[in-house]
Symmetry: C2
Subunit: 135 residues, 2 copies
């Protein structure tokens, strides 16, 4: 079902500063930036390898999921995103296995992807995202 | 410097149960298992894509780093491992940039790799591992 580690989602307080850090320290380059108002994040995708990114996330407001995460945990890994070929089929299969879903249906993710989150309580404490990239 | 997302290191209480969960739920397969007494972990590497793994970690003792992590945080993402071509050269370059290192020199990691950890306080709260795989 999982085709790759699509991205590591990392929560931070200052997106520009953290982007500069990853560029300077590790030589990564920004592939994409966007603001997702629905999810309440400013984000940057830094390319590690084809199809694999570090996703840096800064909340647009303190009561967004990433804003609450930062208040509770401080900066760090927020979620892991895995590639799938068909996110709707994956959600149906996982729901049938009793895996608790955050998203019953796919929604809009980074770079035009269709994405869905699984609840961390069903995946050993890991907020897990499925990512069907644009063809 | 970073060539791929080598693995996501996930701390768990029961390695066999968590391996079975990832196999059954996501269709991953175990590529390797070992116990690393120095690090105090039983671990399993589950293949996601060539060179990319979910690494499940169960402490061998409660006072190991992963044991302490579990006591403090519960199950979840413990660290992120990135591939590098030359871990010694990478450590030297990062040390020269002032990145705080857990390991001044490489040590033994999973599947015969040479690995080194960077301190999370220098990497935005993310315990970050460099992995030079066996050729």
């Amino acid at each position: 079902m999982l085709t790759r580690i699509d991205h590591v989602g990392i929560a931070c307080h200052d997106l520009d500063a953290k982007v500069a850090f990853y560029e300077t320290t590790f030589g990564l380059t920004v592939a994409h930036r966007e603001t997702n108002e629905e999810q309440g994040v400013h984000e940057a995708m830094l390319l590690v390898a084809p199809g694999s990114y570090v996703q840096l996330l800064q909340p647009t407001r303190p009561d967004s999921p990433v804003g609450k995460f930062l208040a509770r945990n401080g900066e760090g890994v927020h979620h892991i995103g895995y590639g799938v070929d068909d996110v709707e089929a994956a959600l149906a299969a996982l729901g049938a296995k009793g895996v608790p879903l955050v998203d019953e249906r796919p929604r809009h993710g980074s770079m035009g992807a269709s994405i869905a989150f699984l609840h961390p309580r069903g995946v050993g404490g890991v907020l897990t995202e499925l990512v069907q990239s644009l063809p």
